[in-house]
Symmetry: C2
Subunit: 160 residues, 2 copies
DNA sequence: CCAACATAGGTGATGCGTCAACTATTCCGC
DNA sequence: GCGGAATAGTTGACGCATCACCTATGTTGG
């Protein structure tokens, strides 16, 4: 990452050469992978990765509808982010809103026919991209390691 | 990710249960990790991860100066993104500009004293966070796997 | 009942990232 | 040298993410 070894007097434990190489590779991979997934999805379907996630979360629901905060929880998004995003998606006709009878504050977010068509059209290509860029590139044991790594890091991040 | 198995007639090879679990874990990990690294860096130093990367790239240079497109290349950023970001960083006094004698179109980006102070103050805490959230969480063989995985995926993404 | 509080959700400002278009210089072939 | 292509860098528009704050409705203890 750079001459991080300059601060040798600090209490910080610096990264050694291998750690530094690994970290740089990870950062570069995640940035390039995200960009490429986004680019292809956008080009093939006009959806962003965020759109895709919202639509997937909606189709996961029994009635293809959900309260805004339910959706925010299952996406692990801030409600404000979701609110802004839903407004844009609604303008594009991908989702709609319905009154919530038992809670006057609430809203249901519903999948529109256009929204369903969009996710149905986008999903196969996106899955194929993920397979091509990730799963086809990894032997079984590295795949298993990836799962372990993700869970281990998540445990650290989620319990600070 | 959802009922991706619906499209069984398609040519797409779907993800099996283990692949799907792994993929979801990865997505969640990368999103939470990035958010947490950003949050802590921001709280402790007022720098964003992007600011950090730019400042690190600059301190990597012999004279702590670089042409804009050089910087863009080493960061692997689009020149437009960098241009916008440099404008914001300049407004905050983290970097400055200098005329380029041998190329009238060009600019040198230079690290200011404030910029150097900021990166010096931010780096130890950031490295410590990375160590705590990632390296301390992983046994040596998973760390090695992470390096292999990142390189394997990068090869796929970079050669389409 | 009603005041205090909690909850559902939206809004506006600001920073960030991408795209397409633009300006200004330099390079290169004639 | 000069006209067109290439290069360095910026700009504006727009989508996206976060933050702080706001409104409206529901809930609850006295």
């Amino acid at each position: 990452m750079r001459q991080l070894f300059r601060y040798t007097g600090s209490v910080t434990r610096w990264l050694d050469e291998r750690e530094q190489t690994t970290w740089r590779s990870y950062l570069r991979m995640q940035s390039r992978l995200h960009a490429e997934l986004h680019r292809r999805l956008q080009a093939e379907s006009g959806l962003s990765l965020a759109d895709f996630d919202v639509l997937v979360a909606l189709t996961d629901r029994p009635d293809e509808r959900a309260r805004v905060l339910e959706l925010a929880t299952s996406l692990d998004w801030e409600k404000s982010r979701l609110s802004h995003h839903l407004a844009r998606m609604q303008k594009r006709g991908l989702i709609g809103r319905e009154e919530c009878d038992d809670d006057g504050r609430g809203n249901y977010v519903v999948l529109t026919a256009d929204g369903r068509a969009a996710i149905d059209a986008a999903a196969p290509g996106h899955v194929e991209t993920v397979r091509e860029l990730v799963f086809d590139a990894l032997p079984a044991d590295d795949l298993a390691a990836l799962g372990r790594i993700a869970e281990a890091v998540l445990t650290r991040v989620d319990r600070p």
